[in-house]
């Protein structure tokens, strides 16, 4: 098997295993050929999903047009174990199998944000969120800064990509407030039991996260916002955070933080769900009880928070949140100071990196 495509025959089997995007939030604008390119699914099999009952709009020229999020979920729930979304998550969470000490020790990451090309003529401006250097555990690496790899100093979204080195230091913590633990446990159990399906959710439904939860669909962003609301109802400060999960690549991720013992402690219900055996039908599940427990309070050296109030989107096309594929240009890799003096080619802090640029890896 090449590992690059998914057998078409299994796609229709995913129908009914997740919640389709309600019509009011759907955008039926993805044709089979485009979906095939992005998801590495056979175009013929995608076209056949119309007959299998997947919501769509018929277009005489382009064939059936689907909601992109529905197709991502079909890829995830087809049971192939080979689609790009499920493989990415599985690769990114492999760190949970490493020794616990490795989750917390300070680690330097080279992060690259390549600006996506927005569609349209004229194309709307693209803006990307920047790392939150004010967050606990996030810092600049002086040796990298001397080589022009400082994170952007601005807290406003940027209209250009960037390459920067950040030091992420984790912290082993627990949540003392039993009520907060109970709220988080309740959310994890709803996902584990399947009362609410862990799946991809469109950005418009993420903004009405309680509605998404009631419809039976949730992703990390819905969960982080829901948790923050429920914890605030208990009278304790809480906030939803969004940034990048770093590893093989950088991936959009959100989590909740609760203020306790004079610091912000992280609550990651989605990580806890996967580490507790959730998502077995998508080959995501892990049997990692120690990691699941750490998701209740600890901060990991893999999560780079961005300046984004209440888990706001990381990329915008004009005034609108960008679709998920816009994050396909986020790279991450360990950074080590290169031998020798600072190179002559060192550039200014927050050096831009756009689609057309190609840079040497500094390590």
């Amino acid at each position: 098997m090449s590992g690059t495509t998914v057998a078409g025959r299994g796609l229709a089997g995913a129908v009914g295993r997740f919640v389709s995007v309600p019509e009011a939030h759907a955008r039926y604008d993805t044709d089979p050929d485009s979906a095939a390119r992005w998801l590495r699914l056979p175009a013929e099999a995608i076209a056949g999903l119309a007959e299998a009952g997947v919501p769509h709009r018929a277009d005489p020229g382009r064939g059936p047009l689907f909601d992109y999020i529905d197709l991502v979920n079909i890829a995830m729930f087809s049971g192939s174990g080979q689609s790009v979304p499920e493989l990415a998550l599985r690769f990114l969470l492999r760190f949970a199998a490493s020794p616990p000490a490795s989750w917390y020790k300070p680690r330097d990451w080279l992060v690259g944000i390549r600006l996506p090309q927005a569609p349209g003529d004229p194309a709307p401006p693209v803006r990307v969120r920047v790392p939150d250097l004010g967050a606990e555990g996030v810092s600049v690496v002086p040796e990298a800064a001397a080589r022009g790899l400082s994170p952007p100093a601005s807290t406003d979204p940027l209209a250009e990509g960037y390459r920067a080195v950040v030091r992420l230091a984790g912290a082993r913590r627990t949540i003392r407030d039993r009520r907060v633990r109970a709220v988080c446990t309740e959310v994890v159990q709803a996902l584990t039991r399947g009362t609410v399906v862990y799946q991809t959710v469109p950005e418009s439904l993420r903004t009405v996260h309680h509605q998404a939860w009631t419809l039976g669909m949730a992703d990390c962003i819905v969960v982080s916002r829901l948790l923050a609301d429920r914890i605030r109802e208990l009278g304790r400060p809480a906030r939803a955070r969004r940034g990048y999960l770093l590893g093989l690549v950088g991936s959009d991720h959100a989590w909740c933080e609760v203020y306790e013992d004079a610091c912000w402690k992280q609550l990651d219900a989605v990580f806890a769900y996967v580490a507790s055996g959730g998502g077995r039908d998508r080959n995501l599940a892990m049997d990692a009880p120690e990691f699941a427990a750490a998701c209740f309070g600890s901060r990991f050296n893999r999560l780079l928070p961005c300046v984004a109030d209440e888990a706001a989107p990381l990329v915008y096309f004009g005034a609108q949140p960008a679709p998920p594929w816009a994050l396909a240009g986020v790279s991450a890799s360990p950074w080590r100071p290169p031998d020798g003096p600072v190179s002559i080619g060192a550039s200014r802090p927050g050096e831009p990196m756009n689609a057309a640029t190609s840079r040497r890896v500094d390590r």
Binding site: S2, L87, A97, R114, S331, S358
Partner: protein, 89 residues
Amino acid sequence: MSTAAGEARDLIRGCLDLPALLDRIGDEEDLVGSGVNSGEIVRIALRCEHRMGRLLTDAELTELSTVRAVAALLSAADPAGHTETKVVR
């Protein structure tokens, strides 16, 4: 170009929607920064696992960002330079 780098390039090229893109990327240049998308990186990692006949560790995955890194990974797994594909799943 070394044999290892050549094999790495063959593997990577097979994972790209636009294989010619690889011709413009140096051995030490960051793949994503040079235009390879994250979906293609995921496929490169999967192809490496198939080639090596085992799951990659987290440490190996995080290093997999350049042609040279892919070549080093494949060389370490198969120092004799054999390229037999092993299917493990």
